[in-house]
């Protein structure tokens, strides 16, 4: 199933009047146990949900998301009502006479296995099995009403063959991977991801720089929030990106086109000149068809790469979002110059310690304002009538986020006394100056500015040409270039263009 490329649509779900479940797309299936499963709906196939049974994909294709379905008979499904929260009346019952041992259940292990088997064959429905178990439970009547409800709920999770198809969204996909494989997404919980998007002011018509080692969770989230308006440049390891999670999102072409990528090896300016052997029309005419197609593929790949490089060097990014295995300081040293003024920097790590150096580095840097480390805290509640309380188990943590604002220092404005040394540093270090801790305090205001020279404006910032190099319209045309062509990447990966 993993070799499937989701059918890419031309329309975003948000614009559709009735978004339905499509063939050849990934969907999430919520099972009675509460677990979720990713399935692909190939036409004419049988989708297996393990002990909960199987159903025909065709029966689900074309239906709406959200409703729950019950498997009955021979792999048939029908819409079923979602379980409502039932009011439970309090009675005088208590657990004084209840002994917790297996003798209360009169059905033997083998009897129950047999019931399950009948259920699988479609001869017995989930609720009938549960009723049988309740009937043969010796002390069921002695239980409190709360306890009865809990018992039935537990059995429902085990025997009801009800499932709910869910549309993959940032929320559902993030939750799915956080539960199923937290290491894959660097233990990033949905609330932390949400805050990253807020702190990063991620919205349509932005140009974002993203370093994503969460296998595409961050890129997917950013792409969803930008809705295909604007550009995302993802910096990645190796030659090809590893944004596996992108493919579960069922993004439209419009959204996928906003994602461009660049490997770390091409970030350095010395990787700028990589000549391409352009062929003339005549040369192409003489080529075999196979070779010619190969040439076009290489040419598209080359042009796409050049466009991505240009997009980086043009700078003026509207935000830098990082969730990476590499140290934050090394990433800041490499990418900070490409960020525009008053634009947010957001760095995630599951390890707080990994962010401390970067926080100190930012405090010293005249290019960063107000670095802060925050942690999200989330608590879910059970809200059953009369039984409201926090969930008994929760997640231990959700990582840490370091945020700051990129600012533009004006050396000419620095104080005469303390600032004179810093000015020197700025000159010598070509704009990437680092002020001492001693002068930092005064930087927050209060150091004596030198009179005059205020209106030097955008000048006097040598060495940061990237920031002024291009205006927005030129960037827009560069990003338009990037959306063309086919990169010929392996089919497992979501194609980001074409």
């Amino acid at each position: 199933m993993d070799d499937l490329i989701p059918a890419t649509t031309t329309q975003d779900d948000v614009d559709e009047d009735i978004p339905v479940i499509r063939a050849n797309q990934y969907i999430l299936i919520k099972m009675p146990s509460g677990n979720q499963k990713v399935v692909t709906l190939r036409p004419d196939s049988l989708v297996s949900l393990g002990k909960f049974g199987s159903f025909h994909a065709n029966d689900l294709i074309g239906q709406v998301f959200g409703h729950s379905y019950e498997i009955y008979g021979r792999n048939q499904i029908r819409v079923t009502s979602n379980w409502a929260l039932e009011e439970v009346e309090e009675t005088d019952a208590n657990n004084r006479e209840i002994f917790d041992d297996s003798s209360t259940q009169k059905l033997s292990f083998l009897d129950i296995e047999k019931l399950k088997e009948e259920g699988m064959k479609g001869e017995l429905e989930g609720k009938d099995i549960i009723q049988k178990m309740v009937d043969s439970h010796a002390s069921f009547d002695k239980k409190t009403e709360f306890s009865k409800a809990k018992y039935i709920q537990r059995k429902q999770k085990k025997f009801m063959k009800v499932f709910t198809p869910l549309r993959p969204t940032m929320l559902s996909v993030a939750q799915y991977f956080f539960v199923k494989n937290p290491d894959k997404v660097r233990n990033m919980r949905i609330d932390t991801l949400s805050q990253i998007l807020s702190f990063g002011n991620v919205h349509a018509n932005s140009k974002l720089l993203v370093v994503d080692d969460t296998q595409g969770l961050v890129i997917s989230a950013v792409a969803e929030r930008m809705g295909g308006f604007g550009t995302i440049l993802g910096i990645h390891d190796g030659d090809n990106h590893n944004y596996d999670i992108l493919r579960y999102m069922n993004f439209s072409k419009h959204v996928l086109d906003s994602v461009t990528t660049l490997p770390w090896t091409k970030v350095a300016k010395d990787a700028a000149q990589e000549p391409f052997d352009y062929k003339t029309e005549e040369q192409l005419g003489n080529m075999k068809e196979l070779d010619r197609n190969g040439y076009y593929r290489r040419k598209r790949g080359y042009e796409k790469l050049q466009a991505a490089k240009q997009s980086l060097w043009d700078g003026n990014f509207d935000g830098l979002i990082v969730a990476s295995q590499y140290t934050a300081v090394s990433i800041l040293e490499t990418l900070l110059p490409y960020l525009g003024g008053s634009r947010p920097i957001v760095i995630y790590s599951i390890h707080k310690e990994a962010l401390l150096d970067a926080c100190v580095w930012m405090r010293k840097s005249v290019d960063c304002l107000n670095p802060q480390i925050t942690e999200s805290w989330l608590r879910q509640y059970q809200v059953l009538p009369g039984r409201t309380h926090p969930e008994m188990t929760t997640t231990g943590g959700a990582g840490y986020v370091l945020t700051a604002m990129r600012v533009i220092d004006f050396p000419t404005q620095a104080a005469v006394g303390m600032g004179s040394r810093r000015n020197k540093e700025v000159d010598s270090e070509d704009g990437r100056s680092v002020s001492s801790l001693g002068t930092r305090g005064t930087r927050r205001g209060g150091d004596r500015g030198r009179r005059g020279g205020w209106d030097s404006g955008g000048r006097g910032r040598g060495g940061r040409g990237v920031r002024n190099a291009k205006n927005r319209s030129e960037q827009a045309s560069a990003s338009a270039l990037m959306t063309k062509g086919d990169d010929g990447e392996p089919s497992k990966r979501v194609k980001l263009d074409d």
Partner: protein, 393 residues
């Protein structure tokens, strides 16, 4: 203007967030004839025009400087004029994600309040989405409408002065998500639990008279797009309100009802000195040595007083520790001098470590976020095949 799209340079009429410190930020609207005065001196708006956003700017008097920041909903939340209790980053972020909001989403917000959440919502759903915001307090509605228009959200946010609990929303089959909060009422309720006076009691009665969040829930149902899944969030500070809200959501057929609390905790980075037991022993030894040195000096002075001619032996003994002490002082001086240029780097070499500390006082509760899911209404057009014929369970 610039909330829904980034600008690079400051222009006349722009909203700029003047950043003096983390605790001190001020929204200013650029008018070239005006000046902005703060404790660091005079800042002429005219000098700000043409500067790049994020620029550092010195005051005209040269007493200090500030940063000229680009407005974002997050910064706005920190500087906006409070007319009511507002929503903060943790709740805003979580609700936005939980309601699956993105460009193109159509959202209802009941209780515009001070517009903190509205700015964030509008930012997220722009340029193709719509926010229908309802406020029953006329003056607040007018103020908020003015702000939305000034901030460039005029075409995204449709604000209506209306009591949705009494009159409903007046919208049918339109939205993807809804967000209900009646903090204007709840705020009064909160205050009266803290300050019990005549005025507060009056407010309490007003609260009881006024409709409550759960009254708005039946009306929300028809606002949802009837053929797709929608989501609703109710924002209430008290647990009793959650109970009633949950019951109402349940009665009205919403599913996946759940409730969350979300907070953000700060961790301040600082350095501390690494001290060991060996340090404690050394420090005690040093003190003891100093003490004995003082005793010796005192003894010598006494001897000098008593006997003007000290003998040779004493003199030798005295010299050594004194010399040590002088060296130590010299070392200390040298290190303080050297620490000046880059105290942090040196400090870290000298057995310091980076740590974090949580603040002594932090926000402990904002509100409970109760969520529910609206299910598409099934009818014959929905291609529910033979299933619908058999009827649902």
């Amino acid at each position: 203007m610039s909330f829904k799209g980034w600008k690079t340079h400051i222009e006349e009429g722009d909203l700029v967030i003047a950043y003096l410190s983390r605790e001190s930020m001020m929204p200013i609207v650029i008018n070239k004839k005006e000046t902005y005065n703060n404790k660091y001196g005079i800042f002429r708006h005219n000098d700000m025009i043409g500067k790049e956003y994020g620029s550092k700017m010195g005051s005209h008097t040269g007493r200090g400087f500030m940063y000229l920041l680009h407005p974002t909903p997050e910064l706005w939340t920190q500087v906006l004029p409070h007319r009511t209790q507002i929503l903060y980053a943790a709740d805003i972020s979580f609700i936005t994600s939980y309601l699956d909001l993105k460009p193109g989403s159509k959202v209802i917000e009941s209780g515009t309040g001070s517009g903190s959440f509205s700015h964030s919502l509008a930012r997220t759903i722009a340029p193709t989405g719509k926010l229908f915001s309802f406020e029953y307090h006329e003056e607040r509605a007018t103020l908020a409408r003015g702000e939305f228009e000034a901030h460039g959200f005029g075409d995204i946010i449709k604000l209506e002065h209306r009591d949705v609990c009494a009159d409903g929303f007046g919208i049918k089959d339109t939205v993807h998500a809804g967000m209900s909060r009646h903090e204007t009422v709840l705020l009064r309720f909160w205050k009266c639990t803290v300050v019990v006076n005549w005025y507060a009691l009056l407010n309490l009665i007003v609260f009881l008279d006024l409709p409550a969040p759960w009254d708005a829930i039946p009306a929300t149902k028809e606002t949802f797009k009837q053929r797709r899944t929608g989501k609703i969030c109710c924002f209430s500070p008290c647990i009793e309100q959650v109970t009633k809200t949950v019951a109402s959501l349940n009665e009205n057929g919403f599913v996946d009802i759940t409730m969350y609390e979300c907070l953000i905790r700060n961790h301040d980075v600082r350095t501390i000195q690494v001290l060991t037991v060996a340090d404690a022993i050394q420090s005690a030894k040093d003190k003891a040595q100093q003490k004995s040195l003082m005793m010796q000096q005192r003894k010598r002075k006494r001897q000098q007083r008593d006997d003007p001619k000290p003998d040779e032996e004493d003199k030798d003994q005295d010299l050594e520790p004194e010399a040590d002490g002088a060296d130590a002082d010299a070392d200390a001086d040298a290190s303080t001098v050297e620490q000046e240029p880059d105290a942090d780097a040196i400090a870290r070499e000298v057995n310091n470590m980076l740590v974090t500390k949580t603040p002594v006082e932090a926000r402990g509760h904002t509100s409970y976020l109760t969520f529910g899911t609206f299910l598409p209404v099934l009818d014959d057009d929905m291609r529910i095949k033979e299933v619908s014929a058999e009827g649902s369970g």
